[in-house]
Subunit: 194 residues, 2 copies
DNA sequence: ACCTGAACACCGTTCAAGT
DNA sequence: ACCTGAACACCGTTCAAGT
């Protein structure tokens, strides 16, 4: 459908240029060169449009992950890990503006400043704590700290989004702790304790 | 301020009961027992109300993290990790309904089904890949796979939200890979290769 | 059969009028 | 000085009228 593509294209362009706040059905229709009424033939409401846009994106991302996984059947496990991170990372950062626009299409509020303030506080508190550990010194405390906080906060958030069962969540929590500790061991200069 | 508290309380209650879609300035004012005009003396616009609500929550979370960190200065590093995860986790799950309501207050779209579909695809693709690794077997593939995906996807998302510099992002990516590999080593049954 | 866009209900926001 | 709520501009959505 040429009309459908025009609507999607218009939506992305408006999202990139003016942000989600200015994304109105009238504006999308105008830019796509159709009337509002026509838009409502393709999408029952505005949410459905944004939903479909994100769905398209996630479908494409799913394709890429499946392809990458298939291509690495039988590879050493470290290669698999690299591939997985790389594929996901490249998909997101390849067109970072689109990724960001889509994240924002879903978010009502401009909460970046809020997150910034909170993250800085948590960063400082944790860095001071880790610096005081009697059983290790980290080579690069800033990087170490940023990694741990991003991983932990991101994992918990994602766990919430995925609506895991209490049991799965509990297991995940244990695994996350295990993972963080294994990471610490690769990054620390241990102290001799006698 | 009793009025301010009433407004916040009304907002949370409406969010919990009816969801963000039905959260209107009129309804909040009505439930808080003030007129719309009064609300606009405290908040310049609706976004500011939701913003302030999230800010309050993040401030309290910041307090808890700082306190937990302070209380563990000089503790062994593994204790620190446990504390950090535990504090954050408990803060989020302690009142899971509020956490969820706040996450949703920020999200326009009901994207849970979307995430579900995508996550299932990625889960299946990755599980099949990991099962094929020639150099290891994992004891509990399902748990292992869920952990890796939640950690990786969550970390990348959080990295985006925090608006890291390209340099920080690049470093984080390397550290994430390192961390995942260290985790694999704790969970795999290695195969003898000769 | 498909498209149009004025009209409708309702939202966020304002401000003259009230206390 | 502070609160009120009708009024306004604008949004999402509909549907009678047009092709």
């Amino acid at each position: 459908m040429a009309t459908l593509d025009a609507i999607f294209e218009a939506t992305i362009q408006l999202l990139l240029r003016d942000g989600p706040h200015r994304l109105t059905t009238t504006r999308v229709a105008e830019r796509a060169g159709v009337s509002v009424g026509t838009m409502y033939q393709y999408f029952p409401h505005k949410k459905a449009l944004i939903y479909a846009l994100n769905e398209r994106y996630l479908d494409a991302l799913g394709d890429r992950i499946e392809a990458a996984c298939r291509a690495h059947h039988g590879a050493p496990v470290d290669r698999m890990i690299d591939t997985l991170i790389d594929t996901y990372w490249r998909a997101k950062t390849g067109r970072a503006d689109v990724t960001r626009a889509l994240y924002r299409s879903v978010v009502e509020m401009d909460n970046e400043a809020l997150i910034e303030v909170f993250a800085s506080r948590a960063d400082a508190a944790c860095a001071a704590m880790f610096a005081s550990a009697p059983d290790m010194t980290v080579a690069d405390l800033k990087r170490f700290n940023l990694t741990l906080l991003t991983v932990i906060f991101g994992t918990v958030r994602n766990a919430f989004e995925r609506n895991l069962s209490p049991n799965e969540a509990e297991e995940l929590r244990g695994e996350l702790a295990m993972m963080c500790k294994a990471y610490v061991r690769t990054r620390m200069i241990p102290h001799n304790q006698q």
